[in-house]
């Protein structure tokens, strides 16, 4: 092992060591197997850098999980960088890669035949059936023009960027979101932008002789875009008329969720080093209420370097809560929805592990990993400044990720199992996706690591907990049911979830079905209530768990 590698391991150990002293550690949920080496996935992310420390290198990178060929198995779309000025362009330039899930934890690279090998500098991604034709399309946010890959329904895609009018200009893209903001049954597109930057404007920070990437304050913030789907496959720029264009901010992650339970989708934008934005949807026109709602800052009134964002009902009260990941010296923030238009910073009350404080955190996933009926939390960590250890010994580029188990609204840090445990990996992680890749019911994890191989963590818990997966098919609403809210109740325990397209750290996951953990197998029928994106509601009672059901708007249940 080289000296450099030894140093990295040592620093990683330092950063990871305090976890065993977490306030409320748990050994539950500790069994995760790293299956990437045997999966057939050979993807290695590159940031395209060469020592020039372009700011874009520090913004990588998301990923998407979706069933591109509608075979019932969730596939992986992994974003990649591209050579930046000064970096030699290899004979085969790096591209984004699509891996088809073959089942049995095996994947095949189908990038070329599918036609989604974008060679741009990709940062964010979202997938949804934007044209309601029954297959899932793919939108990629780049440093440079964005790309819209239209699914042909036969395992291939067509670059429809120009046709749809969605290249979004030559900008510095970030998180992207599909949602039906105007309630017409068609998915509109929110495309976040970070700052106004060109490589020729590069600024390099030199501290103690070491080089560092610049930060968002070094460049002007950019405005985001709102593109309205006309139902004919084209998009119209509604940035200004919607109000979204009124604020320029260094956008990173974004998510469309109904924060006020008024049956339309609001938009929450995680902003780097400034106030988060809460765009309240008022019939397709938005007004910003971040500060008044309590989402703009953390509980101390501090503007964090917000990175990723996810949503879910953490405390089971029927209101969607939010989590944002943050920069170094800031805790990720859990915003508890109080139900009256207000959120509170519940980070400490919920006992998120203070170990996170010195580290940079990125991807975040709220998911019921142990299927016990509440949402656990996974957070991906790692600094982007490869010289950080020279000016601050509390963190490093490669840092362990953190999984926390939810018990009654309080989180307990999962201590990794010692036996070759995937959770104990120390890398520089960014975007995270969560899907049941092996069809065993429990959610697995996919982690895009900066300048590194993918992490593919198979959930190997043996809880014997039951589960139910609900897949929505809209008929009057958008076909994927994006924006629908689903409640599942059994044994007087009710859970809520929403269908998202675009979440986490500039990533997409969970669009192929909502997984509900049921704990012990239910002895009585399950009550399912769906509020479709168009505001109509339907209810069902079903028997049996550990299966997927497909709920078709206005037509009923189909088993799968």
């Amino acid at each position: 092992m080289s000296n450099h590698a030894l140093l990295a391991v040592f620093l990683g150990f330092l950063a990871t060591a305090p976890r065993v002293h977490a306030t409320d550690p748990t050994e539950r949920l500790s069994k995760w197997a790293e299956i990437q080496p045997s999966s057939g996935i050979d993807f290695v992310h590159t940031d395209g850098g060469n020592g020039n420390y372009f700011i874009v290198e520090s913004m990588t990178v998301g990923l998407a999980t979706f069933d591109y060929d509608d075979d019932g198995l969730v596939d992986l779309y992994l974003l990649n960088g591209s050579p930046l000025p000064g970096t030699p362009v290899p004979y085969a330039p790096p591209t984004n890669r699509l891996y088809k899930n073959l089942g049995g934890n095996r994947f095949a690279d189908v990038t070329a035949e599918a036609g989604v090998g974008d060679t741009g500098y990709s940062l964010g991604v979202v997938a949804a059936d934007y044209d309601n034709d029954g297959d899932t399309d793919l939108y990629v946010s780049n440093f440079g023009a964005n790309r819209f890959f239209l699914n042909n329904g036969d395992g291939t895609f067509t670059d429809g960027t120009a046709w749809t009018g969605t290249d979004a200009g030559d900008r510095f893209g970030a998180g992207v979101v599909f949602a039906d903001f105007d309630g017409d049954g068609n998915l509109d597109l929110f495309a976040g932008n970070y700052v106004k930057f060109r490589c020729e404007q590069n600024i390099v920070r030199i501290i103690k002789g070491y080089r560092f990437h610049p930060g968002p304050a070094d460049y002007p913030a950019d405005t985001d875009l709102l593109l309205i789907n006309d139902g004919e496959g084209h998009f119209r720029d509604a940035t200004e008329e919607s109000g979204i264009g009124a604020i320029a901010a260094a956008t990173m992650g974004a998510i469309a969720t109904d924060v006020d339970n008024d049956a339309d989708l609001d938009l929450v934008v995680a902003v780097d080093s400034d106030a988060n934005l809460l765009w309240i949807n008022d019939g397709g026109v938005f007004h910003e209420e971040g500060l008044l709602s309590g989402l703009a800052f953390d509980g101390s009134g501090r503007a964090n370097g917000n990175m990723g964002i996810d949503a879910g009902d953490v405390d089971g009260d029927g209101w969607i809560d939010l989590i944002t990941t943050t920069f170094q010296d800031e805790m990720p923030v859990l915003y508890r929805n109080l139900g009256n238009g207000l959120f509170e910073d519940a980070t400490k009350l919920s006992r998120l592990d203070s170990w996170l404080h010195p580290h940079v955190s990125w991807g975040c996933v709220l998911s019921d990993f142990d299927l016990d009926g509440d949402l656990d939390l996974f957070i991906a960590c790692g600094h982007f400044m490869d010289n950080i250890q020279h000016i601050d010994d509390r963190t490093s580029v490669k840092v362990a990720n953190l999984l926390m188990e939810n018990r009654g609204g309080r989180f307990h840090t999962v201590i990794p199992d010692e036996d070759g445990n995937g959770l104990a990996e120390i890398r520089s992680s960014r975007g995270v996706a969560c899907e049941d890749l092996d069809g065993d019911g429990d959610p697995d994890l996919v982690i895009n690591n900066h300048n590194d191989e993918l992490s593919l963590l198979r959930n190997d818990q043996t809880t014997a907990h039951a589960w139910l997966r609900i897949r929505l098919v809209g008929t009057m609403s958008n076909r994927g049911g994006v924006g629908a809210r689903v409640a599942v109740e059994h044994a007087q325990h009710r859970q809520w979830a929403e269908v998202y397209a675009g979440r986490g750290y500039q990533s997409h996951y969970g669009g192929e079905g909502l997984t509900f953990g049921l704990g012990r197998a239910p002895q009585s029928p399950l009550q399912i209530d769906v509020r479709w994106p168009n505001g109509t509601s339907e209810s069902w009672r079903i028997d049996g768990a550990n299966r997927e059901v497909v709920l078709i708007e206005g037509r009923g249940i189909h088993g799968r």
Binding site: H21, T23, G301, E344, K348, S354, I391
Partner: protein, 502 residues
């Protein structure tokens, strides 16, 4: 959470406050570090966990053996009466005192900060710390200074180890627990910080400061209700502690006790703990209580705070020191080191560091005050006068500065200067009897009892006191009026009796 760590008088750590509790360390130093004469000095006799008077060890004049090597002590002899007023200075004097005493003073104080780069300052700070450890033979107080430097430069692993060593050597020193815990909180080790502070409490260290930090650690570990209870306990004994009201209010807000939170936060602000986070919390509490008008008012105050502390600047994103911050680090480290050198009678080192502080920050009041004390200890009145003049310029509305100048001028038989400064002190605080009493004393000493009579009578008109009447009696006796003196003594006794009866 606001005010999350304690801030030292001269020190600052990026992102969090830190603590420089030199007086206690100085007391420990004087107890434990052999002086050149191999004898402990005054304050060290007391246990380190007893409250040590600030700078107590400085007030004991060093023995001839202690004071070596001397700082030109013998050459700085007081001038004869009237000499200062008659003298004219050559060169470019930088203060009034220097104008009158430049020929005999061996100190000049800068007015413009000396240039230095971040790297130079950091290197210099490490040099001073290394030398301090050598000079103090690795004493834990020197380790504390090293820890302080490392913590401020984000070498936190080293700082943690050093403070642990400090605790092993001096487990009764509260400041080490607080420092260590504060650093652990910065490292995200809230659980460890809580344990360290509980150790302190188990050793009987139960100051409001310890409890404040313990409350902070409890908040970080999610034990909000326990933190709130602890804050309430402290407030029962210290109801005017704004920091604890703020902590309580923020904890109550987290617990959903919004009415109580609003009241606590208002109290915190009323008591002066009205930082940005206090107004933000009060804005939220009012909003949650449906008090929208007040919420908007406090929101506006919150937003009016300097935005630099809100949005992350391009610099603080890196946790790297700016040049100004590097200066503050040096100042804090040099201050600590100077205090320790003073405590061990290494006066030349102390003087050198205090002068360096003033070169980096010419307006550093604390360094000026400390340097004046050093010269007082060394019986270098001309130097002391120069520094006290500067002190009065930096802190012009503090009458004590003028009285100290007057005292030193009087000992140098510069009566005019002494009287002028006491008059200035009186004019700064005309309703305080301190200046009048000082003037009466002074006039008596220089043989002007008639003048003394006017001042003591004026003091008694403002605030009658037994001490005042005794001074009046002394004045009447000096004037040869035994009857008036007797009358004043009787009034003093009556006043004492009525005071004791009340």
């Amino acid at each position: 959470m606001a005010g999350k760590h304690r801030w030292g008088a001269w020190g600052r750590i990026l992102g969090s406050g830190r603590l420089l509790i030199t007086p206690v360390l100085v007391a420990c130093m004087t107890a434990c570090v052999p002086t050149p004469a191999d004898r402990p000095t005054g304050a060290g006799a007391q246990p380190s966990n007893s409250p040590a008077p600030p700078r107590q060890s400085h007030q004991q004049p060093p023995s001839p053996a202690d004071s070596s090597p001397s700082v030109e002590q013998r050459r700085d002899t007081p001038p004869k009466s009237g000499q200062l007023n008659r003298s004219t200075s050559s060169g470019a004097p930088t203060s009034a005192a220097e104008q009158t005493s430049a020929h005999s003073s061996t100190v000049r104080l800068p007015r413009v900060p000396a240039p230095a780069t971040k790297d130079q300052l950091e290197q210099e700070a490490y040099f001073v710390v290394a030398k301090l450890q050598r000079d103090l033979q690795g004493h834990y107080a020197a380790l504390h200074v090293a820890a302080l430097l490392n913590a401020q430069l984000h070498k936190t692993t080293e700082a943690v180890q050093l403070w642990r060593k400090c605790l092993e050597a001096a487990p009764e020193t509260e400041e080490f627990y607080i420092n260590l815990a504060a650093l652990q909180l910065d490292r995200g080790e809230a659980h460890e910080a809580e344990q360290v502070l509980r150790q302190a409490v188990s050793r009987g260290l139960t100051s409001p400061d310890i409890f404040h930090h313990l409350s902070l650690a409890l908040v970080q570990t999610g034990k909000i209700d326990e933190a709130a209870e602890l804050a309430k306990q402290v407030l029962a004994d210290h109801p005017n502690s704004g920091g604890h009201w703020l902590l309580l209010g923020q904890a109550q807000l987290k617990l959903g006790q919004t009415k109580e939170a609003e009241a606590s936060l208002r109290k915190a602000i009323e008591l002066g703990s009205g930082g940005k986070s206090a107004y933000f919390a009060l804005f939220n509490a009012c909003l949650r209580n449906g008090n929208r008008d007040d919420a908007m008012k406090y929101r506006d105050i919150y937003l009016s705070f300097d935005d630099k502390s809100n949005a992350s600047s391009s610099q603080n994103r890196y946790q790297a020191l700016s040049e100004a911050e590097a200066r503050r680090v040096c100042v804090s480290v040099f201050s600590e080191a100077a205090a320790l050198y003073s405590a061990t009678n290494k006066w030349q080192e102390a003087e050198h560091l205090l002068l360096r502080i003033l070169a980096l920050e010419p307006g550093n009041l604390a360094a000026c005050q400390e340097l004046a004390r050093v010269y007082e200890k060394l019986d270098l009145p001309v130097n002391e006068l120069v520094v006290r003049e500067r002190t009065s310029e930096l802190d012009p509305f503090n009458l004590m500065n003028y009285l100290m100048i007057a005292k030193r001028a009087a000992t140098m038989n510069d009566h005019a200067k002494a009287e002028a400064n006491i008059k200035l002190a009186i004019s700064m605080a005309p309703q305080s009897i301190i200046g009048y009493s000082a003037m009466a004393d002074f006039q008596l000493e220089i043989g002007a009892p008639r003048k003394a009579l006017w001042y003591v009578q004026h003091a008694l008109e403002i605030s009658p006191s037994p001490q005042g009447y005794r001074l009046l009696a002394k004045v009447w006796r000096t004037l040869g009026d035994a009857a008036q003196a007797e009358q004043a003594e009787r009034q003093a006794a009556q006043l004492e009796t009525s005071t004791s009866n009340n």
